[in-house]
């Protein structure tokens, strides 16, 4: 068991390395000359050269990569070209809105998606199942930003129940903070709802075919008890996997939501930095989000090993 955990952790190191190399390489090709951007338009050549030397840009590419990796391990992602603020600080500032949205999405998804998936599996191939699945397909197909517009139009512009966009920090006013997260949360939640419902249904259908379910039914247990205590319990692990996967995916998926609803999160930071060609910020934020993804995959894999006694390594 411990060997498996160690193996799994070690196996994710080359993946992390590949991630950093790809992002570093891409942005290096794209970057043009950061020194020229920092020095400004009319800077003399010697000044640009001095900045290049200071940043280590005159060294060979592999040495630059090595330096970046060394700093990365220390938690230093470099400084923004525009504001000169360390990238890690910029990301920290934007973390709260993004994480709040992520939690809001999960809160709106889980209590609806899992029961619906269970019902669809229980009533598999009836009209109830079919209509739930049609809605899930629809939720799967509506692009997040289009759904965002529909929600803004209906609930903000027509009914005036919610503000159309913006963000209020929780330290300022908790009520308004939560109120403003509802629409952006909802627009992203539909996608996860569709995905989780389908996954729950698929897993539950498989579990419901097992012998112990027939045993439970034949000894006279009520359907609710069979479904919740016998079936759902055993379907919980694959479902939890999807939830874990969703959290990682969310951080990136929120790029679009944050743009539509003007939420100042990490996604918006990345998009803004791309517009301003602020490469250290893009690089740092992308690497960080990817690290979260690799880490979540690792956690999911390990939780399988920990919680499912049937899996032996």
């Amino acid at each position: 068991m411990q060997r498996y955990i160690l193996q799994r952790v070690l196996a994710s190191i080359p993946v992390l390395f590949v991630v950093v190399v790809i992002i570093f390489g891409l942005l290096h090709i794209a970057g043009g000359d950061p020194a020229a951007i920092i020095a400004g338009k009319d800077a003399p050549q010697w000044q640009i050269e001095a900045i290049r030397h200071e940043l280590g840009l005159d060294r060979p590419l592999y040495a630059q990569l090595g330096l970046y990796l060394k700093n990365l391990i220390k938690g230093d992602l470099g400084k923004s070209i525009n504001s000169k603020i360390p990238v890690i600080h910029l990301i920290k500032q934007r973390l709260v809105p993004t994480l709040s949205l992520a939690v809001m999405v999960e809160l709106l998804t889980l209590p609806i998606a899992i029961p619906l998936g269970v019902i669809a599996a229980w009533k598999a191939n009836t009209w109830i199942d079919r209509s739930i699945m049609v809605f899930a397909s629809l939720g799967f197909s509506v692009p997040v930003f289009f759904l965002g517009f529909i929600l803004i139009w209906v609930f903000a512009l027509q009914l005036s129940w919610f503000p159309a966009a913006g963000y209020v920090p929780p330290t300022e006013d908790v009520g308004r903070y939560l109120h403003r997260l509802v629409l952006p949360g909802l627009s992203t939640a539909i996608l996860f709802w569709a995905f989780l419902t389908r996954m729950t249904r698929a897993t539950m259908i498989e579990v419901l075919r097992e012998d112990y379910i027939r045993t439970a039914r034949s000894k006279g247990l009520g359907e609710r008890s069979v479904l919740v205590r016998h079936a759902l319990k055993n379907a919980a692990l694959p479902i939890a996997t999807v939830v874990g996967w969703g959290i990682a995916e969310l951080l990136a998926g929120l790029v679009v939501t944050e743009q539509v609803f003007a939420v100042p999160g990490v996604g918006r930071l990345i998009v803004d930095s791309i517009v301003r060609r602020d490469y250290p910020v893009i690089q740092g934020a992308m690497i960080l989000v990817s690290l979260v993804q690799v880490f979540m995959n690792l956690v999911v894999d390990l939780s399988y090993a920990l919680f499912d006694p049937r899996i032996k390594y």
Binding site: I29, F140, P143, F145, F146, E249, A252, M286
Partner: protein
Amino acid sequence: MQENKTQAPIRVAVEEREAWSARRKAIGKGLRRLWRRHPLMFVGIFIMLCMAAMAIFAPLLFTADPLKVDPPNRLLTPSADHWFGTDFVGRDVWSRAIYGARISLAVGAAVGSISAILAALIGLFAGYWRPFDNVIMRVMDGIMSIPDILLAIALVSIVGGSIQNVIFALTFVVTPRAVRVVRSQVLSLKEAVYVEAARSIGAKMPRIVFIHIFPGTIASVIVIATIIGASAIVVEAVLSFLGAGTPPEIPSWGTMMAEGRRTISQAMWVVGFPGMFLTLTVLSVNIIGDNLRDILDPKLRRSG
């Protein structure tokens, strides 16, 4: 003798006709069974055909020049002259939307097919030759760990926004996922008895890979190509929406929605119609993909 000579062609013709009608009956029977078991498939195909027809015949169907700016007639509500109304500079939304269909469908079809071909090649290679497997799959894992949309935006901002570049960027981003599917199929097919049999009678490597293993992966490659096509259509729209996709002067659904958002409080139709087309297109591809998966590859059903 004389009789036989004249009757022979007739007999052939009769046989041919019978064979034909038998085949027609078989096709009809197959279609009826498909209709009974997968009625939604036909809905998906119907929507897809409508969208494709709109894209192909856009030069015949448009009612006004999609690029013509006409400020006095800005934000007109849908009417007989402008079926879908006009946008914030007076351009005809219907004409722009049907030209936008060309971009979305072209990107979806191109990314779906190119990445399927690439995935089949890389997947066969990685699945069959173990030494390469480790290296290739770590690189694929690496690419997959970088969030799709972010990687696509970064790539497009590097190579510049044109339709070819968007197709390239999206193919780069989505191919690893397809490679994974093909590879896992190859790994299991490699151990199949019939492949062992081929090997034992002395079949050479290329023959085993391309004649014996490759056909076994085709079903899942087709299914994954449709799923990828659907997500490519969405990501293309997202890129254009964020201003990092196709050039803004070409009408595409994402660009139209990005521009329409400024006037959403006065003119929902500018955002609504392209959004509806986008949703319907993605829905139809998803429906077709789901049903194809059930028909072609029951083993894949578990994954979603």
